[in-house]
Amino acid sequence: MTITSQDNEIAAEDSQLPVTNTSTAKQEGVDSMQADNTSNSPEQNEMPFALVNGEAYTELPKDLYIPPDALEVILEAFEGPLDLLLYLIRRQNIDILDINVAAITHQYVSYVEMMSDLQFELAAEYLVMAAMLAEIKSRMLLPRTQEEEEEEDDPRAALIRRLQEYERFKTAAEDMDGIPRMHRDIHQATAQAPDRNLTRPDPEVDFKEILLALSDVLRRADMFESHQVEMERMSTRERMTKVLEHLSVEKTFVPFVSLFKVEEGRLGVIVTFMAVMELIKESLVDIVQNEPFGAIHVKAKAD
């Protein structure tokens, strides 16, 4: 997304280009320069793409002569031999199907020679194309026998085919560049999502985990020795909670006997009694008896 990555891309593509990156002024926007001057792609701009001897060139030279300093820049604008050929053809305003192989070959070879003269390192593809053009030209000059025509593919047809195919995708790429695109033309709409805590599920707990935790605590407690966790019947502890809850609700002294329920039987009575004793021991309840053998009342201490 950053501009730097674009720079990288330019740099990386340099290695693909038919010429080495020698000296001349390289400007931003070169990559978007249009070699095809029939195109009205949005990438075309007013900025001169080359400065030669202080003179700004805003379009490609009309004739074949290209000031040597600008050649490199111009070549960077081509995406390869097919692109260069297309440019040469389009510049003459002729249909691909009507190409004069001889003339185009001549022009193409002039470019390539000039590049060689200037000792630019040409990509192999440019030379291959030059050779192919030369071959087509020579074959077109030779008289052909009927037999040959039947057996062979017209060499020009293959070239035209390639040029057409390339041009299709060149156009497709331009069309695609015009499609509304994320971050440039359209943007994903987002709004702050609701707080996840509103619906976050509570963790699941297995009772084993509680036991493991407890066993850890006990182990540590044993290690410290000072905190002996007593062993007692859970029923007493539970009853303590219940009694305390009951007393907290009442908030006043309640008769001691009201804490016991006959239906709980002997065991229940004992548990409740133990619980109250424990609560007294832990100073959680107050217990009063106004006279010997009188009614005993209990009250939660804090409330």
């Binding site: 926007g29 978007s32 949005p42 990438e43 701009n45 900025m47 943007h187 994903q188 709409a189 987002t190 709004a191 702050q192 999502a193 609701p194 707080d195 996840r196 509103l198 619906t199 976050r200 599920p201 509570d202 963790p203 699941e204 707990v205 009772f207 084993k208 985990e209 509680i210 036991l211 493991l212 935790a213 407890l214 066993s215 850890d216 605590v217 006990l218 182990r219 540590r220 407690a221 044993d222 410290f224 905190h227 966790v229 062993m231 007692e232 019947r233 859970m234 502890r237 539970e238 303590m240 909670t241 305390l244 809850e245 907290s248 832990e282 100073s283 959680l284 939660a300 201490k301 804090a302």
Partner: protein
């Protein structure tokens, strides 16, 4: 001047595209400077002068527009933003797969201590655990409605007394606290025969606790009263003894 309808669309668009709060100043800055030409030579949007007050008006308008929508326009401390209404949370939040959370060790220990030693104050828990109990733990357990305050100890500071709740029992499928595995079983694990040296003790402990935890799972199926548990206890003791013997050999 930019048309009111257009202004509204731009502000809506900006807020939604940005996805974060935008101040009125920032929104205003979208209109304040002249549109810079792009290299493409696109036709320039008309130059606009928009007042901040107009932006504020538009924000209010958008706000009332979406009164019946699943989202709202809200001013928060760092600006205005669209946000999805909280009422949508039960459905919308299902878009994200929440991994089941886990409680911390400290929380589990605290819960265990409260379960077995209730009613108990925070101070008592800290004494047993040897470290402070964070408020977050108490809050979490209270919010889950697994513990509650059932009173206060009558000492300076009147600390709250915590106990487990009915919901706690329900969650663990217990009828009453009596059905909790007895502490005896756990302490059996701990009270290693003193004759054993520490190394051996640790081995036994590991073996036994593994077995015990398995047993506790099985106990979930036991509906009978203490007797069965006591039997199981005795059995466990016997087993532990056997193991210890074999280790002695």
């Amino acid at each position: 001047m930019i048309e009111r309808q257009q202004l509204k669309k731009i502000i809506e668009g900006a807020l939604l595209a940005y996805g974060q709060p935008l101040t009125v100043d920032k929104l205003h800055s979208l209109f304040a400077t002249q549109m810079v030409d792009t290299e493409e030579g696109d036709p320039l949007p008309t130059q606009t002068q928009v007042d901040k007050s107009e932006i504020i008006d538009v924000l209010a308008e958008i706000q009332s527009d979406c009164e019946n929508a699943g989202y709202e326009l809200k001013e928060v401390s760092s600006g205005w933003r669209f946000q999805v209404r909280e009422e949508m949370a039960p459905w919308v939040n299902k878009l994200w797969e929440e991994k089941p959370q886990r409680y911390s060790r400290a929380l589990m220990e605290t819960l265990a201590i409260i379960a077995y030693r209730q009613p108990i104050t925070r101070g008592d828990i800290e004494e047993i655990r040897g470290v402070a109990v964070s408020s977050y733990i108490i809050k979490t357990l209270t919010e889950r409605e697994w513990i509650k305050v059932i009173g206060h100890r009558d000492v300076p500071g009147r600390p709250s007394l915590f106990a487990t709740t009915k919901q706690f029992l329900d969650y663990f499928n217990l009828k009453s606290l009596e059905e909790l595995p007895s502490l005896q079983e756990l302490t059996d694990i701990e009270s290693i025969n003193p004759e054993l040296n520490l190394e051996v003790a640790e081995v036994v402990e590991e073996v036994v606790s593994a077995e015990n935890s398995q047993k506790f799972v099985e106990q979930d199926n036991i509906t009978e009263s203490d007797n069965t548990v006591l039997e199981a206890e005795t059995e466990a003791e016997a087993e532990a003894d056997t193991q210890q013997e074999s280790l002695h050999e």
